[in-house]
């Protein structure tokens, strides 16, 4: 990776956001004109429980340097217990990713409610900076996502 590439590294981040809470929170941030980095590609899902391990891996394989999953706070899931499953899945996945030598910080789970526009903005900003700090994901680099092939 050249010095020049390093200085212009813009993380590519996929955020799976549940429609009832975290996507609404994202909307609120937008409507309130809060700025957050443009590096995030939001993907709306009906429930964070929709997000399975395979989807997160696929996002990483397709070139995401970081993946964020946003769901309702425990106890508030629109579908009652979807987010409990999400929590366990992401925990299992993060442990497993650590075994691969990838930094598990590249996958993050956050509870963001519909009224937490500020939390959405802060989370995205922090996460983008954390990924910028980590550098391009080795998986993304291999997939040719950063142009070097």
């Amino acid at each position: 990776m050249s010095e020049q590439t390093k200085s212009v590294f813009e993380p590519r981040i996929v955020a799976f956001l549940c429609r009832w809470c975290s996507y609404a929170g994202a909307d609120l941030a937008g409507v309130s004109r809060m700025t957050y980095p443009p590096n995030v590609v939001p993907m709306r899902v009906n429930c964070s429980g929709r997000v399975d391990v395979g989807m997160v891996l696929k996002a990483l394989e397709m070139g995401a340097d970081g993946v964020l999953i946003g769901g309702c706070h425990p106890g508030d899931c629109h579908y009652v217990n979807g987010n409990y499953k999400t929590r366990r899945r992401i925990e299992v996945l993060r442990n497993a990713l650590a075994d691969t030598g990838l930094n598990p910080d590249r996958v993050r789970l956050e509870w963001i409610s519909a009224s937490e526009g500020r939390k959405f903005r802060d989370t995205m900003t922090e996460f983008t900076e954390r990924i910028r700090e980590l550098g391009p994901s080795p998986v993304a680099v291999e997939a040719g996502a950063h142009g070097e092939g």
């Binding site: 391990v53 425990p74 217990n81 366990r88 899945r89 925990e91 980590l134």
Partner: protein
């Protein structure tokens, strides 16, 4: 009527797939009635020069077992592809990389260091001994399934494919009624469909390793906390491992609708883990169970890691391990 010409070849393999062809016992005599085995290094004397001598598409069917590990494996796979009309990836290694795919977690240098020690002791592609030039095929940096180097017409999963599947394959060969290209010689359903154990879909409150306890012989192994790969694995084997009180290890690879067998199982296990109820009071108990997963690669990715993100190791700094 002219006999068909068939071949059986092994790349990076253990020989188990070759032996599995004999598990049909007397049916092998029916096979040789209709076909000449023109290549089978394990059991017959045709050499590479004989293989080179065949015209393109002269052989009717080759059952190719083993993974692509060395330059020689690749070269012979390409040669065989030219010489045969139909090519089957036979067995787990040819199909999905097999258990030897776990070698991809290390670099070639790491493997050679473990096996041979210091670099000056390593085997060489070109060497000279007493003035004579000797050559070894290069050990490739990554092991891959057959499909990575040539187009494959049939897939016969299993480590090795069970005799019921071999019988089906041989029956098709004997009758001349080979199925369409792309056919997978296995069940379309997962192992659970064939397993005689009763599934109650309990929560996994504890991960149990097979040597820790004797399982209840009638209940689902996953329900009892054993890491059984059945839900993500193709059936067709009769679920003999669960019948022997051992969890399925996934040797037949994933069902058709699953791209990554290990990822699918990680998902399933995570969903099932927990206390009897879900809720904020139970999160710590859940985490304690998750922490019991000791070997993700060996448990969930043992046979089909080659095309998964879990098919290699990465080397980031600042990781927790």
């Amino acid at each position: 009527m002219a006999k068909a010409k068939i071949g059986i070849y092994w790349a990076a393999s253990c020989g188990g797939c070759d032996c599995s062809l004999l598990e049909v016992n007397e049916q092998i005599l029916d096979v040789i009635e209709v076909a000449d085995i023109v290549l089978w290094p394990c059991a017959a004397d045709a050499k590479y020069d004989d293989l080179r001598g065949f015209a393109d598409n002269e052989i009717d069917l080759v059952l190719f077992n083993g993974a692509i590990r060395t330059e020689e494996n690749r070269e012979i796979a390409e040669m065989i592809r030219k010489k045969t009309k139909l090519l089957a990836a036979y067995g787990s290694c040819a199909h999905t990389g097999g258990v030897i795919g776990l070698a991809n977690l290390s670099s070639r240098d790491e493997i050679f260091t473990t096996v041979y020690g210091a670099k000056e002791n390593w085997p060489q592609v070109e060497a000279s001994q007493h003035g004579f030039a000797l050559h070894l095929p290069e050990f490739l940096e990554r092991l891959t399934p057959l499909e990575s180097v040539v187009e494959v017409d049939y897939f016969v999963p299993g480590c090795p494919p069970p005799k019921e599947i071999v019988r089906t394959l041989f029956s098709a060969l004997i009758s001349g009624d080979l199925p369409e290209k792309g056919t997978v010689f296995a069940s379309e359903k997962n192992l659970c469909e064939e397993c005689s154990r009763t599934r109650e879909q309990k929560r996994i409150t504890r991960i149990v390793r097979p040597h820790e306890e004797e399982p209840d012989p009638n209940l689902c192994l996953l329900d009892q906390g054993y890491m059984c790969m059945g839900p993500a694995t193709r059936g067709g084997c009769g679920a003999v491992c669960p019948a022997a009180n051992m969890p399925c290890t996934g040797c037949a690879g994933p069902t058709a609708n699953i791209a990554d067998q290990g990822a699918a199982m990680l998902n399933t296990v995570a969903s099932l883990i927990g206390a009897e109820e879900e809720g904020e009071d139970h999160l710590e108990a859940e985490d304690a169970v998750i922490a019991q997963l000791a070997d993700v690669y060996g448990t969930f990715f043992r046979f089909a890691s080659a095309n998964s993100l879990f098919g290699k190791r990465y080397h980031e700094r600042n990781t927790t391990r």
